[in-house]
């Protein structure tokens, strides 16, 4: 297929997945803020940190000071993460980017997939969305998640399972690896800091980890695997290595390898894409091997390695297959 079209497919997948991840994360944070008696900053700061927009957020908030950082204000954080035009990671901008990529590959998507993403985009631009955001925040996040899930499901059930879908799904999976890794890293970090604080109790610890799992749509899956026991090590192990959980790092890296191997078979040395495929294979083997040893305090290093590798693999994909100069 045309390299430029493949590039739009890949980014379409990434943006749809990113929109869903952002909506899920914001929904989970709102819920956590109601359940656990935590200082607002402990709930909302990670939301900003995960997206890597910490500095931009603080600079854009007029009343932000070191004593009263703006991430202590749930409304400011959410407005920034949902509507801010200058925040490329905001839901609104992400949906716009997803839709723009979809429009560029309109002839590649099925009508149903296109309609799902176009309707979601039109909705997010409408006054109706503003009203729901103002009055029923939870419903707002729910609507976005439903919309993206519909698009992701429709593309698998209505499109040819060949190269364009492989590229979309490759984008989805690589985006998902980064999302899971970053969320786990931030939470792990925040938790480690909090556990040094004597006021933190076991109940709060559990609430935080369950919130993280909810943000990754993984709480039910996790509880099935762990028979109801919640501990930081077990959650981290689950999110890194559980081969059957579709948002674990191991699952996403391995599936991404499968997709790329369909696009560019390992034995077809005449075709471009060899370096990206090889680096993804090495990462897959490496992540699998980590599942066989204790994670301990190396979680942060592990996650950093994964995020860096994925970043490099995306660069190689761009050069070898997607027509990047």
């Amino acid at each position: 297929m045309i390299s430029r079209v493949a590039d739009h497919c890949f980014w379409f997948g990434r943006y749809v997945e990113r929109a869903e991840a952002t909506a899920r994360m914001l929904g989970a944070a709102s819920s956590l803020a109601l359940d656990a008696e935590l200082p607002p900053a402990q709930v909302w700061r990670p939301v900003i940190v995960v997206t890597g927009e910490e500095q931009q957020f603080r600079e854009s908030q007029a009343g932000d000071t070191d004593d009263h950082p703006a991430w202590g204000d749930a409304e400011l954080v959410q407005r920034f993460m949902v509507w801010a035009e200058h925040n490329g990671s905001s839901l609104h901008q992400t949906l716009r980017a997803a839709r723009w990529n979809a429009r560029s590959i309109r002839e590649v998507l099925s009508l149903e997939t296109w309609e799902a993403i176009n309707e979601l985009h039109l909705w997010s631009d409408s006054s109706g969305a503003q009203t729901i955001y103002a009055n029923h925040r939870d419903q707002f996040y729910h609507h976005v998640r439903r919309g993206t899930q519909l698009a992701l499901g429709l593309m698998r059930s209505t499109m040819l399972h060949d190269e364009p879908l492989d590229f979309i799904w490759l984008g989805v999976l690589l985006e998902r690896v980064s999302q899971t890794a970053r969320m786990l890293d931030v939470q792990h970090h925040a938790f480690t800091a909090a556990s040094k604080n004597p006021t933190g109790g076991e109940i709060i610890e559990t609430a935080l980890w369950l919130s993280l799992l909810r943000a990754l749509s993984g709480s039910e899956a996790y509880l099935k695997r762990s028979a109801g026991r919640v501990s930081s090590d077990a959650v981290a192990r689950f999110l890194v290595s559980e081969a059957a959980f579709p948002r674990s790092i191991a699952y996403c890296v391995h599936s991404a390898y499968d997709r790329l191997a369909d696009i560019r078979p390992p034995d077809r040395h005449d075709l471009p894409g060899g370096s990206a495929l090889e680096q993804l294979r090495v990462l897959d083997v490496w992540v699998t091997a980590r599942g066989k040893e204790p994670l301990g305090s190396s979680v942060h290093d592990l996650l950093t390695h994964v995020v860096d590798e994925v970043h490099e693999i995306c660069g190689l994909l761009g050069k070898e297959l997607l027509g990047a100069a």
Binding site: I2, S3, L111, N118, P272, L322, G323
Partner: protein, 510 residues
């Protein structure tokens, strides 16, 4: 020339619903009504439509517009940096063409395409028509769209006008007249197909009763047309070339690629090596045999047309000249749909085909000819004068509305440079019953609870589409009816308050 039986259809049930007191326009041919009586072939459809309640129609209209927006059947608004897209306003009430009328249009359009194709072959070949003095040589050589560098170059498959859109109007007597030929990159056919989907959904009963020709096979026919001119016979790779998502017709480019199952490419996706065209793909370069280009020919190849341009595919024209790639439509076609050449199409039909023109066109005076010029200057205040090398309403004089100063200005211009000007009678456009929503329900953009509106006549034109393959021309039994939605307006362009209607071409009686 029109169906004589139309006004003699015997007693017709009174229309007391939607069409009650339909306010026909004076001195205007109405497509559906003769006064307050539906024309013969449309009596049944009119009676069925008449029974629809305004609320029903208003709701259907609002639903149809929402559906178009959600499906992304939109055009981009130029000059809007936020990438605003709008739907092409759509009127649910169809424009119906009687079988008898269409039979004549079909033959007339085929004839016109045959003559125009032969004209292009001749102009880029021996130029017999100029040698015979049928068209003054200076009219051709002065036409901006004439490309002398293409002379002697035969397009692959021998076809030049693969896709044509011909704008037709009907005068006060109901006579069809050709207003303009579009032989470069005519657009709008996607709306023909999309509008049909909507009217079938909204009016299944009326549609069924009307016995209408299908239009949904257009993309299949287009794909066959493109394949028929391919320089290779096996595994033909045809692509659609678009300027990109910011082009106002991007929806259509994408629609055609999708419905033909072809790749939609942009110029940077293509490159030329050894006079062959390739596409950059995820599996390396892939040979391209046919390009349905929806880009202006000036941006096809910077080596040939616009050395200053970074757009286009370098070397494309050399590959074309070598016969390695077919371009649809062929570059250089502009000389045949030029304003200066239009007045001579009836002469072409006579010269190349030795036939009488089947279709009328708008009476046109060529200011280069002394008798014509004299007449134009004497009747300037009744004429529409157009500069042949300008488009989009520039360099135009609307005689009946012009001030004395404007008239004087054009008098001077025409006398100084007669070759640059042609003049036409002001053309009437026929009208068609059109649903006009109450302004309140439209302005809010929302679906109002008790939407309402009424049926009024609005001016329309018709653009049928003609595909020409190696086997000859084929006319899609349908077309794009554009409607001037503003009361009293003659402007059907989407950028200026125009909309579209589904065009129902009735089948012959079984």
């Amino acid at each position: 020339m029109q169906s004589q039986s139309q006004s003699q259809s015997g007693p017709v049930a009174q229309l007391l619903g939607l069409f009650e007191n339909y306010p026909s326009l004076a001195e205007t041919y109405d497509e559906m009504f003769d006064g307050s009586t539906p024309r013969g072939p449309f009596a049944r459809v009119a009676a069925l439509l008449d029974k629809m309640r305004p609320e029903e129609l208003a709701r259907a209209q609002a639903l149809a517009e929402t559906a178009l927006l959600q499906q992304g059947v939109t055009f981009s608004v130029y000059g809007d940096s936020r990438g605003t897209e709008k739907i092409f306003p759509f009127c649910l009430l169809p424009r119906i063409v009687a079988a008898e009328d269409f039979r004549r249009l079909d033959r007339g359009l085929q004839q016109r395409m045959r003559a125009l194709s032969m004209f292009l072959d001749d102009i880029y070949g021996e130029q017999k028509i100029l040698a015979a003095g049928v068209i003054p040589t200076e009219m051709i050589h002065g036409a901006g769209a004439y490309r002398p560098m293409l002379r002697g170059l035969k397009p692959p498959g021998g076809v030049r006008i693969h896709i044509a859109g011909v704008d037709l109007i009907r005068d006060t007597a109901g006579t069809w007249r050709v207003l303009e030929d579009n032989l470069r990159t005519p657009s709008g056919v996607s709306y023909v197909v999309e509008n049909r989907l909507i009217s079938k959904r909204m009016f299944p009963r009326v549609f069924d009763a009307a016995r209408v020709h299908r239009v949904d096979h257009y993309p299949t026919r287009l794909a066959e047309t493109l394949r028929s001119v391919s320089p290779v016979s096996e595994d033909v790779n045809a692509v659609v070339l678009t300027p990109g998502p910011f082009n106002s017709a991007y929806f259509e480019h994408s629609f055609l690629a999708r419905t033909m199952g072809l790749e939609l490419v942009q110029a940077p996706d293509l490159f030329v090596d050894g006079d062959k065209v390739y596409c950059r793909t995820t599996r390396g370069p892939k040979r391209v045999d046919v390009i349905y280009r929806r880009t202006d020919e000036a941006f096809l190849d910077p080596d040939v047309f616009r050395p200053d341009s970074v757009l286009g595919v370098r070397g494309l024209m050399k590959a074309y000249a070598a016969g390695n790639v077919a371009l649809a439509n062929a570059p250089g076609n502009g000389v045949a749909d030029d304003k200066a050449v239009y007045p001579f199409v009836p002469d072409m039909i006579d010269f190349y085909l030795s036939e009488e023109p089947i279709l009328e066109q708008v009476r046109t005076w060529v200011c280069l000819f002394e008798d014509d010029r004299k007449f134009v200057l004497e009747h300037l205040d009744e004429m529409v004068v157009k500069a042949v090398d300008e488009a989009g309403g520039y360099g135009m004089l609307m005689g009946p509305q012009a001030s004395k100063a404007e008239l004087d200005e054009f008098r001077t211009k025409i006398t100084a440079e007669p070759r640059r000007y042609i003049a036409q009678q002001r053309v009437e456009l026929s009208s068609c019953p059109t649903w006009i929503p109450d302004s309140s329900s439209r302005a809010s953009g929302a679906i109002s609870l008790s939407p309402s509106g009424r049926v009024e006549p609005r001016r329309v034109d018709l653009r049928p589409y003609i595909l020409t393959s190696r086997e000859g021309p084929w006319v899609l039994p349908g077309g794009l009816t554009r409607v001037a939605l503003k009361r009293g307006s003659y402007v059907v362009n989407s950028s200026q308050g125009g909309g579209s209607k589904d065009t129902w071409v009735m089948k012959e009686k079984a």
